[in-house]
């Protein structure tokens, strides 16, 4: 029971960061290996905000989101769009964008190291127990889960009920055909990339309420988000959310039953199973 509830709470928070990557990879077609660094940046900024003001970290998110949005917008416009234009094929773009975002991730780690230093950061917010079915859980986990669930719902509705969301989904299905029906593909991709970065950073802020972070963890979170996106199927938000819960359960189960040091291994086992059994993911479209 413990595993189920903790896994659920963790998975719910993972869902948000993975949706961020989903927007960047599914819509903007950028396999962003610097995603985890933005998550860490979000987590650190939240920490810093809480240490400075003692106000609820949830308020920090209102600061983190717009900053991350603008930064990611700039990164896409300045660094990645030239690659999109230069690329002769999707394959070439993937290679270029992987290398470029890899470089960006190193630069981000360098900047974060310079600002925050290399130590572990954590803070105690709402570190009091809450009782669910007679078991104790951290209230901060529950609050983070609720905030994440609210944001996921809002994003889902925005994607499926508004015109802008429709444009995003159209680009995700077929960029060149979207151009034909008067969607500004470059703008929409930039929007998706920026929004994805903001969502990931907010996810980091929420995760920082109950996890301990240091700069080098960015890669691990990038990998977790990637595994979730691939497991759920590229281009499908429902799949991402389901996959996030699966990863949350798997990690919690491995951490409690075997060893907390093996959480990445849990993610990798899932990844292997997906690649062998269903490479297009749970909800993915099977390519011809």
């Amino acid at each position: 029971m413990d595993i189920v509830i903790i896994g659920l709470l963790l998975g719910g928070t993972y869902a948000l960061m993975a949706i961020g990557l989903q927007l960047q990879y599914g819509v903007a077609r950028i396999m962003n290996l610097a995603n985890g660094e933005f998550l860490i940046a979000g987590a650190f900024s939240t920490f810093w905000f809480y240490a400075a003001t003692q106000a609820s970290p949830l308020f920090a998110l209102f600061l983190v989101a717009p900053v991350a949005f603008v930064l990611n917008w700039a990164i896409y416009r300045v660094l990645l769009q030239p690659l999109v234009r230069r690329a002769k094929s999707q394959g070439k773009l993937e290679v270029d964008s992987i290398l470029a975002t890899f470089g960006i991730s190193f630069i981000s780690v360098g900047i974060l190291l310079a600002i925050f230093g290399g130590q572990y950061l954590d803070y105690a917010y709402l570190a009091q127990p809450i009782f669910i079915f007679g078991e104790r859980y951290g209230l901060n986990r529950v609050v983070a889960f609720l905030a994440s669930a609210a944001l996921c719902t809002a994003l889902y509705l925005w994607l499926h009920k508004t015109r802008a969301g429709l444009a995003l989904r159209a680009v995700s299905v077929n960029p060149s055909a979207s151009g034909l029906v008067a969607i500004n593909v470059a703008r929409t991709s930039a929007l998706a990339f920026a929004l994805g970065g903001a969502v990931t950073a907010v996810g980091g802020g929420l995760l920082s309420m109950f996890l301990t972070f240091d700069v080098s963890l960015g890669v691990v979170f990038t990998l977790k988000a990637l595994v979730i996106v691939i497991l759920g199927g590229v281009g499908d938000i429902r799949g991402t959310i389901v996959a996030a819960f699966i990863l949350g359960f798997a990690e919690t189960a491995v951490a409690t039953l075997i060893d907390p040091g093996l959480t990445l291994a849990a993610a990798y086992v899932l990844f292997m199973i997906v690649l062998l059994a269903r490479p297009e993911g749970l909800f993915g479209r099977r390519t011809a």
Binding site: M31, L33, L79, P82, L83, K88, S89, Q90, G91, K92, E94, V95, D96, I98, L99, A100, F102, G103, I104, S105, F106, I107, S108, V109, G110, I111, L113, A114, N174, V219, V220, T222, L223, L226, V227, I230, D259, G261, L262, L264, A265, Y268, F271, M272, L275, L276, P279, T287, A288
Partner: protein
């Protein structure tokens, strides 16, 4: 058997390479101390970057797993040093790396390349977690000592031999059917499939060869470091540096990485002395510079200059295209 019939130009190239090898081999006789240390790291990274290129060059699949295989080689050596003679361990490291590469390759190389890149990115961290956990469960210390009687010049010669082996194998692959198949895969995987090439098998075989070399390099270097510990052996920085050196040199020629390794190792030496705390930031900047400014590497620049000179002299007949840029059909293959 046409593989063993060489043209005059090939004989010439072979002789040049043999000459360079002999020249490189006498370095430890004239250099020592700091200079020898730098040349050792140049030779080590040449072996690693060239073996990386064997797979990633023709296929365009960026493998970020060098550190994982390098670390495995170190651990096999460290674990068996008191039980088995050292030359056997080098062989065992190669086999261990090959087996792991085969497993990873069979799982990830059958589907789109991007999954392989992601998988390889976390491989070092994954193996590190398993090693740490294994040592924890077994109750042993987290580090292992590797003590063996070797001098610096001996490491240098071992690494030089390894590098020569990598070059020979790479050269042989380039001439073989396998190498031809890989170039087709790199240009357009769909075409390769339609030509009847077993693309998955070709990719796995090459990945295994390339990774086995990285493991052997780890085995050779392990006793030089003396102490092997998960965080050091599986340091992901090694993978990134190998990729960046190979890209700097250019990935279209077997000797490309060599051209990248030498300036990069020297530059990195300067950087890590001058800005010891900003190395990550600077590595990122190097990455971006290479991707944006010299996407085809130094060899690409040299070849362009060569072509322009040829044109100016009036000898070039018609437009010359670089072999990697002609893939018009590929657009369809992954968008569908």
């Amino acid at each position: 058997m046409s593989n063993f019939v060489f043209s005059a130009a090939e004989w010439r190239n072979l002789l040049i390479c043999a000459g360079l090898f002999v020249l490189a081999a006498i370095v430890p006789l004239v250099a020592d101390g700091y200079v020898l240390q730098i040349t050792i790291s140049i030779v080590m990274y040449t072996a690693l970057a060239t073996s990386w290129l064997l797979f990633s060059g023709p296929t365009n699949y960026i493998a970020l797993s060098t550190a994982a295989f390098f670390g495995i080689g170190m651990y096999v050596t460290a674990g068996g040093i008191d039980l088995v003679p050292y030359p056997l361990l080098i062989l065992a490291s190669g086999i261990a790396g090959a087996v792991m590469a085969a497993i990873v390759g069979l799982a990830t190389l059958r589907v789109a390349g991007v999954y392989f890149v992601i998988f390889s990115l976390g491989l070092a961290e994954l193996v590190r977690q398993f090693m740490t956990w294994g040592q924890h469960v077994l109750g042993t210390m987290s580090g292992l000592y590797v003590t063996i009687d070797r001098t610096e010049p001996m490491y240098y010669w071992q690494l030089l031999l390894l590098t020569a082996a990598v070059f020979l194998v790479g050269w042989w692959i380039g001439r073989s059917r396998l190498g031809f198949a890989l170039r087709i895969i790199g240009n357009d995987e769909l075409v390769a499939v339609h030509c009847g090439i077993n693309t998955a098998r070709a990719k796995v075989v090459l990945f295994v060869i390339s990774s086995a070399f990285a493991s052997v390099a780890g085995a050779v270097v392990a006793p030089r470091w003396g102490y092997v510990e998960p965080g050091v052996a599986f340091n992901p920085f090694v993978s990134f540096q190998v990729v960046i050196m190979a890209l700097l040199g250019g990935t279209h020629r077997l000797w490309g990485p060599l051209v990248g390794v030498i300036p990069f190792v020297l530059l990195w030496e300067l950087i890590s002395i001058a800005f010891p705390s900003q190395t990550t930031l600077l590595l990122g900047i190097c990455f971006l510079l290479i991707v944006y400014v010299i996407p085809n590497g130094i060899t690409g620049l040299i070849e362009d200059a060569w072509k322009r000179r040829g044109k100016a002299g009036g000898t070039a007949a018609g437009p010359v295209q670089s072999p990697v840029q002609q893939s018009p059909v590929r657009q369809k293959s992954q968008n569908a």
